[in-house]
Symmetry: C2
C-alpha cells in the first residue's frame, strides 16, 4: 500500500480523489493500493491523518465550505512545507499551479524535501520541469526514488512514458506540437467568424481559459510546455526566456476567415530541435494546409510529433481531454511506482 | 549479457544484426549487452556457436552465397526446431514470416518450446498473436518469462508498449486504424490518376508489396493485424474468419479520382469494438473527408486510434517507416527484458 500526500486541491486533485474513492471508471484499477494521508492547499486549509483520510467524508465537506475547516478533527494547523517535511507518506503528489513569477520555488522546495526524505514524487506541475529538472532528476536518482510527471504536458497523454518505455536508447532530435489548446480553440472559433472577444467568451463558458488569458495569449503556456519537453527529451536546462514566442496579437482575424475558406488553418506550433548539442525552441503562429498532419487537430485536442535519430517520426494526438485524463496521468505514474518499487 | 537465437534471417533479422554490430544509429544503445548464438533459416541453412557468432564475418558471407554454407565452422546441420530445443540462448527472437495456411503452427511451436525451456521470446510475427495469444501468454506467465511482440503491428510503433506502460488499469473499448500501408499507398497513387496495375508497379519498385499482392489486396494483412490487436487489447482469442473484410476489388478508380478533387480520400480502415464482452472487428473501405484524423495519413504511414473507458481517444501515427523501425521494435523489446530481468 502506498500512502499519498497531496499538495494542491484544485480540479486535478479532486478528480484524483474521486477516482481513488470510486474506481468504476477503471475496472482493473484497485484503489485499495492507495491511501491519502494528507492534503495541503495554498489558502484553504490542510488536513492530515497518518492512518489515512476518509475521502468520501472530506470531499463533500470541502466543497460545502470551500475549504478544510479548522473544526475538522483531521485539520492540520502547520504549513504545506511542514506537512511535506514531517508527515508520514510514501509518495508526494505535487499538484499546485504553475507560478512563473517565483519560478516555482515553492513547488521545487516541496519536491526537494520529499526526495531527500526518500519519498517518491509525482507532479502535474510544469514549473519544476522547467526550472529544476536536472537538479530534481539527480536528487531522485541519488535517493533511488521516482520523480514522475506524465500529466505536466498534454493532459496525461503518454509523452514521457513513450520516451521512457518505447524509445529506449533512442536519441530524440526534435519535436513539433500544438500544445496550447486555448489558442487552438480560439483560432477554430475565429475560422467560423467569431471575433477574439466572442471566442474568448465561448472559451470561458467551457472553462478552458483562465480568468486572465494573457498566459495563453502571450504564448507563455506553450513556451513552458516546450521548455519542459526540451529539458526531458534533450536532457537540458533550457532558459525559458530563450524560447521565441509569437503572441496572439499577431493573429489577423480577417486572414483566418479567408484562409479557412481555402482549407487553410492557422495554429500556434511549438517546436524544438537539437543539433550538435544546441537546442533551438520556439512557439510560432503558422498557416497549415489540409495535408499537414496537425490540420485536423481542433477543439481542445493536442498533438506532438517526435523525431528521433534513425527512426520514422511518431505523432501522438489526444482528442478533447477532460480533467479525468490529467488525473489518470497521475494514477498511471503511481501504478508505475507500485510496479517498480514493490 | 543476453544470448540471442534468431529464427528467420530476412530483412528485419538482417537489419537487427546490423544494429547489434554497429550501433552508431542509437548512441545510447550498448550492443555489448547482447550476443547472437544461433540463426536458423527456413531453406538457407542454420549456424550456431554457443560462445557467440561473429556477425561482422557471417553477414557478408551469407549475402555472397545467399545462404549459410555447410562449409562454415558454425554450420548447424540440425533443424530450426532442434536449435530452439537444444541450443544455449536466453531470448528466442522469432522473425519468421506469417504463414496463414498452417496457422503459424511452426512459429507457435518454436515459441512454446522456448518458453517451456524458460527462455524469453520476442517475435515480429503476427501469426502467434492471431492463433495462440492466450496460450503463449499463459505459458510465459507460468514460466515467468517475457513474451513480447512490439514489431508485429505498425512496424515497431509502440502500440503494445503504450497499452502496457501508459494505459495501466485501463479498459480499451475500441480502435480504428490504417494498418495496411500497401493498399493505402495504392489508393494514394490512384488519386493521382494511376490505374491499379501502374500503382502496383510503383509499389513493387519501392518493395512495399509482395510478389503476390493478394494478401494485401484481399484484406488479409489488415485482418491479421486487426485480430492481433483485438487479442492483446481485449484479451481475446478472436477467430480470424469472423473479421469482415472489404477487398481491393471494391475500389472504383474513377470515384477515387473524382473524390480526390473534392478533398475526399478512400482508405481501408481496420476497426474493432468491445461491448459487453462481445468483440466486433472489420476491415472496411471508407471515404474520408479532410477533417477526418486519418485523412493526412498517406504514403506508407500508418495510424491507430485507441478508445478507452473514461479517457480521451489517443491516436498514434508512424510516418513512412523503414526496416530500421521494425528492427528497433525488437531492440526495444530486448531492452525491456534486460531491465525487468536483471
Amino acid at each position: 500500500m502506498q500512502r499519498l500526500l497531496l499538495i494542491g486541491f484544485g480540479n486535478v486533485a479532486q478528480e484524483l480523489v474521486r477516482i481513488l474513492d470510486d474506481h468504476t471508471l477503471f475496472p482493473h484499477f484497485n484503489p485499495q493500493q492507495f491511501v491519502v494521508t494528507g492534503i495541503a492547499t495554498r489558502t484553504r486549509g490542510n488536513v492530515y491523518n497518518p492512518e489515512g483520510l476518509i475521502l468520501k467524508r472530506l470531499l463533500p465537506l470541502f466543497n460545502e465550505q470551500n475549504r478544510f475547516a479548522e473544526s475538522l478533527p483531521e485539520y492540520f494547523p502547520g504549513s504545506a512545507q511542514a506537512l511535506v517535511g514531517e508527515a508520514e507518506y510514501d509518495v508526494l503528489i505535487e499538484l499546485s499551479t504553475l507560478n512563473l513569477s517565483e519560478k516555482s520555488q515553492s513547488a521545487i522546495g516541496y519536491i526537494r524535501t520529499a526526495l531527500e526524505r526518500k519519498k517518491h514524487v509525482v507532479t502535474a506541475n510544469k514549473g519544476p520541469l522547467v526550472f529544476a529538472y536536472q537538479q530534481l532528476k539527480s536528487l531522485a536518482e541519488q535517493n533511488r526514488r521516482a520523480f514522475l510527471f506524465e500529466s505536466t504536458v498534454m493532459d496525461g497523454t503518454p509523452v514521457f512514458n513513450l520516451k521512457r518505455y518505447a524509445l529506449r536508447s533512442v536519441e530524440i532530435t526534435g519535436f513539433q506540437g500544438v500544445l496550447n489548446s486555448t489558442t487552438n480553440f480560439l483560432l477554430a472559433q475565429m475560422e467560423k467568424g467569431l471575433n477574439v472577444e466572442e471566442a474568448l467568451a465561448k472559451a470561458r463558458a467551457l472553462k478552458i481559459v483562465e480568468a486572465d488569458p494573457r498566459n495563453d495569449l502571450d504564448g507563455w503556456d506553450a513556451a513552458v510546455k516546450t521548455a519542459a519537453l526540451c529539458n526531458v527529451f534533450f536532457n537540458q536546462s533550457i532558459d525559458l526566456q530563450s524560447i521565441e514566442r509569437d503572441t496572439f496579437d499577431l493573429v489577423n482575424p480577417q486572414t483566418v476567415i479567408e484562409d479557412a475558406r481555402q482549407n487553410k488553418r492557422w495554429k500556434f506550433i511549438c517546436s524544438a530541435s537539437r543539433e550538435n548539442g544546441t537546442v533551438k525552441a520556439r512557439v510560432r503562429l503558422q498557416r497549415l494546409d489540409q495535408k499537414h498532419p496537425f490540420f485536423a487537430v481542433s477543439g481542445t485536442s493536442s498533438v506532438l510529433r517526435i523525431e528521433a535519430r534513425g527512426l520514422a517520426p511518431l505523432t501522438i494526438v489526444q482528442e478533447n481531454p477532460t480533467i479525468t485524463d490529467t488525473a489518470f496521468g497521475v494514477i498511471n505514474d503511481l501504478l508505475q511506482i507500485l510496479e517498480n518499487w514493490k
